[in-house]
């Protein structure tokens, strides 16, 4: 039977590893930002990064025992909505009255 503190340490390590995994996945998705081709693809990968970043932040904050992590995630979620809408509207300007 492992000591409780060991188990919690194992949990913290697991949460950190999960945060790293999610972040890696999202970083791979960022390759779409590089290649595009359409602005829509770029917004999509930004959206994926936003969600993944929030997930990684929550996992990280729980693993490191930072209680403010949830508040940061709340702000990120709210502002991700704001920025995505601004991007979507901005991208439409770019594609329609540009080029």
């Amino acid at each position: 039977m492992p000591e409780p503190s060991d188990r919690h340490a194992a949990m913290a390590d697991f949460l950190l590893a999960a945060a790293g995994f999610v972040l890696t996945m999202v970083a791979l998705g960022l390759v779409r930002v590089l290649y595009g081709p359409a602005a829509a693809d770029r917004i999509m990968s930004a959206q994926l990064l936003g969600t993944g970043g929030i997930a990684a932040l929550l996992l990280l904050a729980e693993g490191m025992r930072v209680p403010a992590g949830v508040d940061i995630a709340l702000i990120l979620a709210l502002l991700a909505a704001f920025v995505s809408v601004a991007f979507a509207k901005g991208a439409v300007h770019w594609e329609h009255d540009g080029e």
């Binding site: 959206q47 993944g52 997930a55 995630a73």
Partner: protein, 97 residues
């Protein structure tokens, strides 16, 4: 008790991480924007949802739990709105509004 909760956390977080994997693979591999959008929404809704579910087993206090759930709800709402806007713009001849 705590062991069971931890086990649930590990399961849910792993499942969530899997959906992020799936979403990324779809975003990179699917041929056209609309199907890429389809892959993205899985990562958004289920990936983050399962991670939040997993972390819910670890929180102490009602407020922290409520905040976690509202993070997910906000992400859902934002995701649904933006995917609509993108899909309309991506459709041939589509306009955003």
């Amino acid at each position: 008790m705590s062991l069971a909760l931890n086990l649930l956390t590990v399961l849910a977080v792993c499942a969530g991480a899997f959906f992020f994997l799936a979403g990324t693979a779809g975003l990179l591999r699917f041929p056209d924007p609309l199907s890429r959008l389809h892959a993205l929404t899985k990562a958004d809704n289920l990936g983050l949802g399962l991670v939040v579910l997993g972390l819910l087993f670890q929180v102490d206090g009602l407020l922290a739990g409520l905040k976690l759930i509202s993070v997910w709800l906000l992400a859902l709402l934002a995701g649904a709105t933006v995917t609509q806007l993108i899909a309309r713009a991506a459709r041939p001849g589509g306009t955003p509004e």
